[in-house]
Amino acid sequence: MTTHEQLASANLQLEAEVRELATRLREAEGAIGAIRRGEVDTLIFQGEAGPQLFTLAGRDAEANRFRGEILAQISDAVIVSNPDRLVTYLNTAAETLYGVPASDALGRHVSRLFKTQWDSPKSRSIAEAALLRLGAWRGELVQVTQDGRILNVESRVTMMREVAGIPGGALAVIRDVTERHRDDARVRVSEIRYRRLFEAAHDGVLLLDPATGRIIEANPFMTRMLNYPHEYLIGKELFEIGLLKDASASRDMFLKLRTESEVRYENLPLEGRDGKHQEVEVVANLYDEDGRSVIQCNIRDITVRKQAEEHVKLLMAEVNHRAKNLLAIVQVMAQQTAKLGDPKTFAVRLSERIAGLAAGQDLLVKSEWHGVEVSELIEAQLAHFRELIGSRILLDGMAVRLAPAAAQGIGMALHELSTNAAKYGALSQSTGEVIIRWRLSEDADPVFTMSWRERGGPLASRPQRTGFGQVVVGRMAAAAVNGAADIDFAKEGVSWSLSARARDVVASDGA
């Protein structure tokens, strides 16, 4: 073969290869065009390891599913609607929030999901204008769901432009804030409630900044207590308003608060602006208020409580004094009963005398030591003979209220007289009577007289020796009324009389 022939053959071969390459290039351009136009589902790539298959539509679906999953995961409701407000997409959160499944909502008007409750027509037109002009709007809305629930939502709406013939629409991302609104309302109510407590409290309340020791808030009662205006208190330290004596006392309190978180002062003298002294109790607490500490001081005016405590103390001392006095009397009664009486009847006689004393005490306590009516005193001391009062025991006297000491002395005398009458006198037999008479004279300095007369009983005679009973009805009764008492053993019966100035015997009004 000649050189010429060889060249011509190579030329032919080259031309064939160029044609082959041009064809492949056209095919490749066609494939790329088809991929671009979305006409290709699958590509087979002839590589060294053999043909590889790529499914283009599968990758797209994968991406779409991925996007769908993301939208399903987020807690905000996402709704896409077309220009006719028909729903073209909604995520799981939207289905849940509005209680409508996607199958029921897609292709339907958005009002299938909710209706917006605008607070005014004006806010609606503002929102619509913003969407038109800026293509986006965000704000808070109230929506009513199909099942009648009222939702507070935060809504972000974005207008979507028309792309490649696909008409635009709206993308709404909606966050349910109903719970937060409810919490806010609760916080507001609670704030109002506690504010009211603070304002109306009958304790002073001060809030202090622990860093500076200065007052940051004071309630109205505090300003009344100190008689300082509210503005004056703010920014002051405790010692400046007379609550603690000096700056070092303030420092001590803060130091103590840091370790103990509560400090209590039982009795602090508090001096207000007008110099008025008050006894106060202060309880200071260190609180954490959202990461920032605050000291709350409760200041209570305990002046009245202190007075009541003093009064109780006084009463206790008085009760103690009276109880001891009574024990001393019982002691003397026992000694005298033993000394001047019959040892065989000692226990019985002493018990009777103590019972008489107790009956008198009951009356005094009942009247709060204001005094005892004579008739009441007689009925109490003659309780054993209650059924004889009005028949064999005759009471004759007006209403006279005896002072405590007189009531006790006369009461004991009546007890001795009735015991004696029951043993030896007018009440010892089935016949015989006692007349008890008392009078208040009508002089300028009135005299109180009282008498006990027995008659119709056995013949009376003066006892052989002076018993304790005689001492009680005689000189003791006389001493109790600061007057005179006399007993007479006449044959027809025992006769006892007592007289004293009314001012020593009669209870004074209101005393």
Partner: protein, 127 residues
């Protein structure tokens, strides 16, 4: 003859009893007499006691601190001024007592008669 002028009567110390409770005053009077004292007087009120000290006088006294709600402190002051020894008795506790009658010989009610007599003898001997 005036019994006060007999030699035995003069030797007896005259004691003033200040007690508003008649039964206690009676018992005191009795036990003091039995123990060889003479009774200078029995008073149940402050002014009455002061009058007795001023007129009749006494060598010693037994005072109830509380006389029907009234304090017997003026009597104690008067006795101190006259250097007359005395014993204070009261139903109040010792702590309550010492505020008003500091440093005095004090007996709480109810007391034993023997204790009162001893206390009275001690304060009289101090003179």
């Amino acid at each position: 003859m005036n019994p006060g002028s007999s030699p035995t009567e003069i030797a007896k110390p005259r004691i003033l009893i200040v007690e508003d409770e008649p039964m206690l005053a009676y018992a005191l009077e009795e036990s003091l007499t039995e123990e060889g004292f003479a009774i200078a007087g029995v008073a149940s009120r402050t002014e009455q006691a002061l009058a007795m000290i001023a007129t009749a006088g006494c060598d010693g006294a037994v005072i109830d601190m509380n006389l029907g709600g009234q304090s017997a402190a003026p009597i104690a002051a008067e006795l101190r001024a006259r250097e007359i020894p005395f014993v204070v008795v009261s139903g109040y506790s010792k702590a309550q007592q010492l505020d008003t009658f500091p440093g005095e010989c004090f007996l709480q009610k109810p007391y034993r008669s023997g204790d009162l007599i001893s206390a009275l003898r001690i304060v009289l001997a101090r003179q």
